[in-house]
Amino acid sequence: MIRKIDMELAKKVFEISGQNVYLCYQCGKCSAGCPVATEMDLLPNQIIHMVQIGNEKALEAKSIWICATCFTCSVRCPRGLDVAKVMEALRLIILRRGIYKLDLRKIKDIDKYPQIALVGASRKLTG
């Protein structure tokens, strides 16, 4: 029997980012070049694969918040998949539920950071 895969998550990602995750053939180029892959619990290509098969655990991964949107994966993907946009879509699914990953009140010595760091973090990690 052929099991049907759940495409809901992939559809949602497509709606938000315009990226078709089924382009990915799992070569792993994105993970090989990712500068923060060592800090991630799931590698970028694993995240993509989870979205392909509709595994909602992709949304619980720390990786999507560690991704700093440096676009290395996006310029290198041989299939033209914009991986950074997929990561952003996964973040936005969470953020649009009203769940934020950064509380500026809890940051120590907030005045030592340049604005560019604070605004960037707020825009990526809160809604």
């Binding site: 980012s17 923060v36 918040w65 946009k85 973090a121």
Partner: protein, 296 residues
């Protein structure tokens, strides 16, 4: 004097004042005037990637509308930025709405108190202006204090060369900063990680990532490098933080991180636009190199 519109962005007005000051000095010396936009606002630092919403483009497009208003009197549609984050956000937003009529219409309707944006502004980074409008060979003629024998590592960071539609040079193998270093008489060293990310805004939420990241970046060049030059105030902040960490943890030597405009201003002899600490630093370094290479 050719006039260009100029958008400083938030960090240049207090964290990175040296960057702005030296750039303005260079522009004057090379015969261009940077006309600061009136009532500019924060560009948003990171480009919103969602294609189902234009919410994150509002800040950038508002600046582009400001530029459109200014360009009428100036007769030049080029908007110059120094911060590479501002550059990427404005250039990417501009690229998107030029190719997405629906998004442009939605934004124009949302900001009905402003005039409609027509997509005529061209966003340029200051480095690209130096290369395309002035030319590095012209700059070379004006160099009075070459940074002889200094090993300078160029750090591009991510957003100046990526994504492709907003890149000022090749995303994988850029050469513009190396050319600049050669122009001012320095010795550009090959740095495989020059376009790798420094960890960016992770510095706020997870500083350890940035410290480890920067240590890994500087590992291959830590002995031979004299100065690292950068284009982005956030890269500078992160590199300083990571180098401090590596000094304590791995006993590396101090590596000063400067903006590319600071070494260029020094080479052009623009002392009045530089901090005295930077002039001293560079003078001492050049003297040290002279002693090293001196043959009696």
């Amino acid at each position: 004097m050719k006039k260009f519109m100029y958008m400083p962005g938030c960090s240049l007005k207090n964290y990175a004042t040296n960057y702005e000051k030296s750039a303005i000095g260079i522009a004057k010396k090379l015969g261009i005037e940077l006309v600061e936009l009136e009532r500019w606002n924060c560009c948003g630092v990171v480009y919103g990637l969602a294609s189902d919403s234009v919410f994150h483009q509002i800040a950038a497009v508002r600046n582009l509308i400001r530029a459109q208003e200014t360009s009428k009197n100036l007769g030049n549609n080029k908007l110059v930025t120094l911060c590479s984050m501002c550059y990427q956000v404005l250039a990417s937003a501009n690229h998107r709405i030029k190719n997405d009529e629906q998004a442009l219409e939605a934004l124009n309707k949302f900001m009905d108190e402003e005039e409609d944006y027509r997509g005529e502004i061209e966003v340029k980074h200051f480095l690209a202006i130096l290369r395309d409008e002035i030319g590095f060979d012209k700059i070379k003629e004006k160099i009075v204090r070459p940074l002889k024998n200094l090993n300078i590592a160029p750090y591009y960071g991510c957003v100046l060369v990526r994504p492709k539609e907003a890149a000022i040079d090749d995303p994988e193998d850029p050469i513009i900063l190396e050319t600049l270093i050669e122009t001012i008489g320095g010795n550009p060293i090959y740095w495989p990680f020059r376009t790798d990310c420094c960890g960016s805004y992770n510095v706020v939420s997870n500083q350890d990532i940035v410290k480890k990241r920067v240590w890994n970046l500087i590992k291959p060049i830590r002995d031979e490098v004299d100065i690292i030059i950068t284009v982005c105030p956030l890269c500078k902040f992160n590199l300083d933080l990571g180098i401090d960490f590596a000094k304590k943890e791995y006993y590396i030597k101090n590596i000063p991180v400067l903006y590319f405009t600071e070494i260029l201003a020094y080479a052009l002899g623009l002392d009045e636009y530089l901090d005295s600490s930077i002039i001293n630093l560079l003078e001492n370094m050049i003297k040290k190199e002279e002693v090293k290479t001196h043959v009696p």
